[in-house]
Amino acid sequence: MLCTIQDLGRKGYHSIGIPNSGAFDQISFKYGNAILKNNANDAGIEVLWGGLRLVSMEDTIIAITGADMQPKLDDAAVPMWRPIPVKKGQVLTLKGPPEIGVRAYISFAGGIDVPDFYGSRSTYLLLGRGGYEGRKLEKGDILSSFATANWTVLENMNQYVIPTFSYPWRVRILLGLQKDLFDAQTIQNFGDKKWTVTDKANRVGLRLGGQEVKYQIRDNLIDSEIGGINPSNIPTEGNPMGAIQCPSETELIVIGPDGPCEGGYAKIGTIITADFHLLGQVKPGDDIFFKPIDYSEAYRALHDQKEKLSYI
């Protein structure tokens, strides 16, 4: 289990090495706040795997979204993706582990009150900043939420718009930035290959294996002068969140929300913004297919997703 406070993350600090952070599955997270009519950026708890017990010290309303960890309030099962009134003294349990997915989100009316660090309440574990004292939540921690006068929640929710997860994971990508460094066959077949998530998977990045990529013979000697002499080495450049790095022929690394802001390995592609949240739900041993699409489809998917959330 790993529980951290997250919101939508921090923007604009790449040049001093501060990554986005924020909820890994931002779609599930956004639904939680939308269900409670919170502000979109109000902080909640990201729960990895499950095994969490929370005792309520006040009356409140919460929503649980993301992976299904069989939530219970006292001894009664409670629904996901719905507002749940909680009375003082009641105990919320997220047992887990989920069948599909790995992260659940608990949103609270008003949002969790923790100090702001560089414009966000998200926990950034590598630096030990943000969220609750810059660390994961531990037994005995006491959290408070901001006072809210707004106790109206969504009562009649459109069930049709609730996200569902389907396995194996199918994730759409845009090929680039260094797709020209790979051989034509690798690029052509990339969408047919089933990659498997290794046990090195966390908020910094996910390492994937089980397949191979092949590089072209290098002809740009100047680049290798600055970047390094292995075929995967490039002069260090910006790491977009969701970039798929290929440090060697047998391993991919997907840059996660806490990932380094730059890197010196070739990137075969980037996960589209609309699908990046799915990576927050994959676990070691899971299979992923990456489907290359074009830019117009990527933007359409993003706008459709935004519209769907507005119909909630």
């Binding site: 040049s15 390094g228 260090t236 977009p240 970039a243 730059e262 010196g264």
Partner: protein, 269 residues
């Protein structure tokens, strides 16, 4: 050398990477930093972030406000208006102690089934470990970027120097000791915190490159030691000095010279 036409790489639906050149020169780096400054000063509503490196800059944008072709058009406009690198650029010189060939990084290499990285570097450069250290300590380094992690540094040698270049790890480390100094390609990196990493490690610095709580008074006005545009001069220390400085890192007094750099003076080297 700056390309006549920059290469614009599409990096997904929310960012582009602009490659302005490939020689890794001081002038190219200052050109990129100047482009960054101009772009930010125009405050485009779609701009989320900039990540300037040695040969490239990545612009991150809000994909719900603008699509990639719109950003490319805006960038072409900025470039067409002209990017002129100032003759003199403010550039402090920050002196840093390094314990080369230290046990921490040797131990770390072992954990990832690698030989001592200095031996790999010596082999790839057809020379000895001692010569790699001598070559590394000699020149001044220009701080190109600080974007890997908070307090990290990416820098390259300037002036007259004997080059070192080497490969990176094929399977990047999942952790690197804080303070590690390494080289990937011809770029020197300083790791500020325990973090993943792929460059070959050659030493460790005992003092802080960031201090958010300003336990060391030096960091009261600025939590970061260096910024792009600064220069670093490394000074070799031994194990005893390393331990002493490490135990006094909260009271360590940094040696920093205020100065400026003229890129033309380095253009012919």
């Amino acid at each position: 050398m700056v390309f006549k036409e920059p290469i614009i790489l599409k990096g997904g639906d929310s960012n582009i990477t602009i490659k302005f050149g490939d020689d890794g020169s001081l002038h190219l780096n200052l050109y990129i930093l100047t482009f960054e400054k101009i772009t930010k000063s125009r405050k485009p509503e779609w701009l989320v972030d900039t990540t300037a490196l040695r040969t490239t800059i990545m612009l991150t944008f809000d994909p719900l406000r603008i699509q990639i072709d719109g950003v490319i058009a805006a960038v072409e406009e900025i470039i067409a208006d002209g990017i002129s690198v100032p003759d003199e650029y403010p550039s402090r010189i920050v002196h840093l102690p390094v314990f080369y060939n230290d046990p921490l990084t040797r131990e770390c290499a072992k954990c990832f089934d690698m030989p001592p990285n200095l031996e790999v570097m010596a082999k790839e450069n057809c020379t000895s470990v001692d010569e790699i250290i001598r070559r590394h300590e000699a020149p001044e380094y220009f701080v190109s970027y600080t974007s890997f992690m908070f307090g990290s540094v990416g820098a390259f040698p300037i002036g007259k120097y004997k080059n070192i270049k080497n490969s990176k790890y094929k399977t990047p480390r999942t952790w690197t000791p804080p303070g590690t100094v390494g080289i990937g390609g011809s770029t020197t990196a300083i790791y500020s915190m325990k973090s993943p990493g792929g460059v070959m490690m050659l030493g460790n610095i005992p003092v802080k490159t960031y201090d958010i709580d300003a336990k060391n008074k030096h960091f009261e006005d600025d939590n970061l030691l260096v910024h792009p545009g600064d220069r670093i001069k490394f000074h070799s220390i031994d194990g005893n000095q390393y331990e002493r400085l490490k135990s006094q890192r909260d009271s360590y007094s940094y040696k920093i010279e205020n100065s400026h750099i003229e890129w033309q003076a380095y253009a012919s080297m």
